[in-house]
């Protein structure tokens, strides 16, 4: 079993270090588990995902993030990725002129040691089997990464990349945003297919509806840069019924 530990994490925007966004967050995720972080917008949920992935816009002012007990804070974003962290973006970038197939090939190649060449036949075999698994049309991977994609296609592209790169921990940032219910079901089915003993998932979402399709093991409520309540999947339903004001009331005045 592997673990991703977030310890008393404090984060600010690199530009405005005096203004904290994440204020002492603690969370441990183990492979095989699916955690959901819920909360109103603007409470630091997306910041958390980006900062774990190593986005240069954010600075960690104190605390630590440990992958299997080792701090990853000194690692560049690409090193963290190669170490097994995957971020499914809320707004994936377009890469004009680079096909999904070539992009994934470059990403996998980057995981090999110098001088080692990715086996092309093996690569395509794996790509096609993952696409079959996720019910993605073969033509999809010859398109440029995210260029002109619908919201649903972008998210499927993220799921396909996740399937190919086989991360240990996947951080899924608002994976449901901008999706209609059919697209949401498809994406959820993809995540459920990849779910298993070898993968830990952190789902970040504003809405409970995603959790109808991807049932989490743990639910956390994030408010003002911290986790203020944790529970099992029933917490999500309770939140949906009572709204975020309900947990806010539980907060002791500071």
């Amino acid at each position: 079993m592997q673990s991703l530990e977030i310890k008393d994490l404090h984060v600010s925007l690199t530009e405005t270090p005096e203004k904290a966004i994440v204020k002492g967050l603690n969370l441990t995720i183990k492979t095989g588990e699916v955690h959901a972080i819920m909360g109103p917008n603007g409470m630091g949920k997306s910041t958390l995902a980006k900062v774990i992935a190593g986005h240069p816009d954010y600075t960690i002012t104190s605390g630590d993030v440990l992958l299997n007990g080792k701090s990853i804070l000194e690692m560049e974003a690409d090193e963290r990725a190669r170490a097994g962290l995957f971020l499914a973006f809320q707004y994936p970038s377009e890469i004009p002129g680079v096909s999904i197939a070539n992009f994934l090939r470059a990403a996998l190649q980057s995981r090999l040691s110098e001088g080692e060449e990715l086996d092309a036949t093996g690569y395509y075999k794996k790509l096609y089997s993952k696409m079959d698994l996720l019910k993605i049309d073969r033509k999809f991977t010859s398109r440029s990464v995210n260029e002109g994609f619908s919201g649903g296609e972008k998210k499927r592209c993220e799921i396909l990349q996740m399937a190919m790169l086989e991360p240990t921990f996947a951080l899924m940032d608002e994976t449901d945003s901008g999706l209609d219910i059919d697209a949401l079901k498809i994406v959820a089915e993809g995540v459920n297919t990849l779910r298993g003993e070898k993968l830990g998932v952190l789902l970040i979402t504003h809405y409970q509806r995603l959790l109808n399709y991807i049932v989490p093991d743990f639910v956390h409520v994030m408010y003002d840069g911290r986790i203020i309540k944790s529970g099992d999947k029933s917490l999500a339903l309770e939140l949906d019924a009572k709204g975020y004001d309900w947990v806010k009331k539980d907060l002791a005045p500071t």
Partner: protein, 478 residues
């Protein structure tokens, strides 16, 4: 390190610039039997003519051109002031071991052969070329055409030999597409030209594999002035590719070529250049073709190297339904200025021209696009489509676009699109999050940007192009 390497600037001072030249950045000590000395005068010209044993009309042509060159000002009223840094008195205008190229690599003198072997030319020839000409400084050291192609009546020789053996064809077209006085550098070339290819493809012959020329500068303080003339007779087809390298010297090197293409009725010429000169080379080249009725001329021009390149391949669309196309890729890294573009002169009805230009500016590199499209009033049904896209890598990178499209008359269609984009931090982070290093991410973005154009190159060249871009981009970040 090879013990007989005279100079290898192994460690490149500026990692963002020199890296791509590493393959070509070496020079061997070569003994030149013929050397016109330093500086340019009437004596220089007479020396070149006598070494080549030229006909009097050629010598006369050279002398006239020298006068024209001396009388013309530097075009710095529109072009970069960097041109003023060329010192014409410090250049060597002619260096060779003789004027007769060898037909087999075994006959090529060892000191020259090892250069081309190191550059992989004989290997490429075996693999996919119909003929090769390898120019070393002023003259071709090797020139050969596959027997099957020669049997079809195709002529592929250097310009010295072309003038000597085929004056009846050569003289008819020589200097007709690009007159001596076209610009200061075409005049200079006309005065001191040496080397370059002469190609004639007989009517109806379609040369299935590309013919290739490789231009190598070996000497310091040298100027290379090749002159290429390609004539495709009615209904014939040819693809010509040229590559080039030079070692990096602290002094400047001048490369100033003139290339003239003639596509007679229904003929097709495709001319591919991958320019990878060292970053001390002034590359000032005039390239133009005339396309007759239903003929097609396509320039695929890729500029990665040099200090300053000024090159605007053009097509004069002289016959009805003639087609012209320029595909231009330019990559300007620190210390480089790629001033490139295209010229399309419509001179007949229903002629079509297309220009697609993509430039990439890295660091303090500067890319300039200049395009001229001319469609006069008396013509009918002409079409032009111009697209120029620029990609900026760093915040201090620079790009300029000067399109001049003149369309008169009301039965024409012209379209112009331009875009400038930047590789965004989000895009780089996205790719890094998938495991690519920052440099790999940059490379991939750049390769994606030119992907649709790179695909038009022959396989071997597009692979090489990708490799060169990867190398260039490696040092561009951080």
């Amino acid at each position: 390190m090879n013990p007989d390497t005279l100079e290898t600037t192994g460690a490149v001072e500026n990692p963002a610039v020199g890296i791509d030249q590493s393959a070509g950045n070496f020079t061997y000590d070569v003994k030149y039997d013929f050397d016109a000395g330093t500086g340019l005068s009437e004596r220089t010209i007479d020396y070149i003519s006598s070494v080549k044993k030229e006909a009097p009309w050629i010598n006369e042509f050279r002398h006239k051109a020298l006068k024209t060159f001396l009388s013309m000002p530097m075009p710095t009223h529109w072009a970069t002031k960097d041109l003023e840094n060329i010192n014409f008195d410090k250049i060597r205008y002619y260096l060779s071991q003789g004027t007769k190229p060898k037909r087999t690599w075994d006959e090529v003198p060892d000191d020259i052969k090892k250069t081309f072997e190191r550059l992989g030319i004989p290997e490429q020839e075996r693999k996919f070329l119909a003929g090769v000409e390898a120019q070393f400084d002023s003259e071709a050291a090797y020139s050969n055409i596959k027997e099957t192609v020669a049997k079809q009546g195709v002529i592929f020789v250097n310009s010295t030999e072309g003038l000597r053996e085929h004056p009846e064809i050569f003289r008819k077209f020589f200097g007709k597409v690009i007159p001596t006085s076209d610009n200061k550098f075409s005049a200079l070339n006309s005065a001191v030209f040496s080397g370059g290819s002469f190609i004639y493809v007989p009517p109806g012959v379609k040369v299935s594999h590309p013919l290739q020329a490789y231009f190598r500068i070996n000497a310091e303080n040298f100027g290379q002035f090749e002159r290429t003339l390609i004539i495709c007779d009615e209904g014939s087809e040819v693809t010509y590719m040229e590559g080039c390298t030079a070692p990096k010297f602290s002094t400047s090197t001048l490369h100033s070529a003139v290339v003239e293409l003639v596509a007679l009725k229904g003929a097709k010429i495709q001319y591919i250049t991958v320019q990878n000169w060292a970053p001390n080379v002034f590359n000032l080249v005039t390239k133009r073709g005339v396309a007759h009725e239903e003929a097609e001329i396509k320039w695929i021009d890729c500029n990665i190297g040099s200090r300053l390149t000024m090159k605007y391949p053009g097509v004069v669309l002289k016959g009805r339904k003639a087609r012209g196309e320029v595909i231009s890729i330019a990559l300007a890294n620190d210390g480089q200025h790629q001033d490139t573009g295209a010229k399309m002169v419509h001179a007949a009805d229903e002629t079509t021209s297309t220009i697609v230009s993509k430039s990439i500016s890295v660091g303090q590199g500067r890319a300039t696009y200049r395009g001229v499209v001319h469609i006069p009033k008396h013509l009918k049904g002409c079409k032009n489509n111009t697209e120029c896209d620029a990609l900026l890598i760093n915040t201090n990178s620079r790009t300029d676009t000067y399109p001049a499209i003149t369309v008169r008359g009301d039965s024409h269609a012209a379209q112009h699109e331009a875009s400038v984009s930047k590789v965004s931090e989000d895009q780089i982070f996205y790719m890094q999050q998938r495991g690519l290093t920052e440099g790999q991410a940059m490379s991939l973005s750049v390769n994606g940007f030119i992907n649709d154009l790179a695909r038009q190159f022959p396989m071997e060249y597009s692979v090489e192009l990708k490799r060169l871009i990867d190398l260039e981009m490696e040092g561009s970040v951080g």
